[in-house]
Amino acid sequence: MSYYDLDAILTDAEKVPCKFELDVPDLGYLDNNPSQALKAQTPVSLSLWLAELLALSSRTQSSNPEDSAPFLTLEMPKALSNEVVSALKADPRAVALRDQTHNMYGLATRMLDLFEEPELCAVLRRTFVTRAAETALHARKAGATDDVVRGEGFLSGLEEWERSLFRRAHDGNKACKEWMEGVKK
């Protein structure tokens, strides 16, 4: 992953729900209450890069992993909540992933690094593969026929990984079509 990868930067900025394990002074404005300290266990959303750091680092100096405690605990973001996952289980093609978040799979891989969720991993893999076949079909048909309306709903629901996949599939088809039209010359 490149340092200048815009998708990675945007994924870093995704908001993740989390709860602080201790009272934090001067952070009350995160809970719309600027005059007081942020109480422990108040649900707030932080950017993934910050939440990840705070959740992985220990607030005590001791090197013993037993009594080390993180600053906050993370929860699954809404895009990977149970409702979305069960909808994906039912029919991967019917869910507009882009409405959940623009970097659905990017966020999911980051969360899977943090949580051990074999089931979520399997559901996402099935979703990706099933939607990829559909994406390739649209990539092949794009521009060839006039029924734009049919694919529009699905295509506008593609998130960033799937968009780049669409572009690659379409580029291949386009190069092949161009050659085929140029054969006669």
């Binding site: 943090l114 051990e116 893999r125 990706f128 690659r168 190069a175």
Partner: protein, 286 residues
């Protein structure tokens, strides 16, 4: 910065390589090896000898009643000058194409139709369909011991234009398109052949899209046996994209599995962040 070219060969490059396929050509005019036609086209195609030293060679002498074997590019050039006709390969016959489509749709709807059967050993050793190669070796340099050309698929004669009826060679789409574009009058029942080729292309493109479905379960491997060069060039970006995406999605699970294997199933080596996370994971279940 990297070149903005996609991975692998472009369709146009594949079509260029396909022009070295050997075809039978009954000439209608005498063309000697040092005849102007051959020389001009070699000159026009300076690139070819330069980039691929084993693709160059002498052209055979053409005497009207005898058919000669020559590469596609030369055959097309002579065809345009009306000095030769082209014998379309056996697999391009409508009956053969219909048989292949039947195999693709009814007999084995999952896999691609098989590539041409492996040749006999002697064929693979000598490269029967490569008189160019033979010429070079006999005239310019004595063959070194242990240097006899041992060809492997898809470069075996039977995998190229010589493929028997009912099997698609490696360069099937490019060769068929080139013949239909430039030597349509030599292809029998060309309208039917065109329609069958379109059908075949669509059937196989749908299979190519479906081939990635087997990655769903985890241990799936995409079988691409019998896929032609042009189809590969067309779908390479897509298939690689899917495989890469599945790899990224499974990366963390794979890392955990490897860690467990390395530790013999125990999680004792985890310190710091990893251990904490497993704790916080448990807390969240309350």
């Amino acid at each position: 910065m990297a070149l903005p070219l996609p991975q692998g060969l472009m369709p146009t490059e594949v079509a260029f390589l396909c022009e070295m396929e050997m075809l039978f050509t009954p000439p209608s005019d005498t063309v000697t090896p040092d005849h102007d036609a051959a020389i001009t086209c070699m000159r026009n195609r300076k690139l070819r000898p330069a980039c691929q030293p084993n693709l160059q060679g002498d052209t055979p002498a053409l005497k009207p009643p005898h058919r000669a074997q020559m590469p596609l590019w030369l055959a097309l050039l002579l065809k345009k000058q009306r000095r030769a006709n082209i014998v379309p390969p056996a697999w391009l016959h409508p009956a053969s194409l219909a048989e292949i489509i039947h195999h693709e749709t009814n007999i084995d709807p999952q896999a691609f139709s098989p590539p041409p059967p492996p040749p006999t050993r002697a064929e693979g050793r000598t490269g029967r369909a490569r008189p160019f190669q033979e010429n070079i070796r006999s005239t310019r340099e004595a063959p070194k011991p242990g240097d006899d050309p041992r060809l492997a698929p898809p470069f075996l004669p039977s995998c190229t234009a010589d493929a028997p009826a009912g099997y698609l060679p490696y360069h099937w789409l490019e060769l068929a398109e080139a013949l239909l574009a430039h030597a349509a009058d030599d292809v029998p029942q060309q309208a039917e052949v065109r329609a069958l080729l379109r059908d075949l292309q669509e059937v196989r493109a749908a299979k190519m899209r479906g081939s990635t479905q087997s990655l769903e379960g985890g241990g799936g491997v995409v079988v691409l046996r019998g896929v032609g060069a042009m189809e590969l060039a067309e779908s390479r970006g897509f298939v690689l994209g899917v495989v890469d995406g599945v790899r990224k999605l499974g990366a963390s699970a794979e890392a955990t599995r490897r860690d467990e294997e390395a530790n013999g199933g125990g999680g004792g080596r985890y310190g710091g962040g990893r251990g904490e996370f497993e704790d916080s994971d448990e807390e969240m279940e309350f």
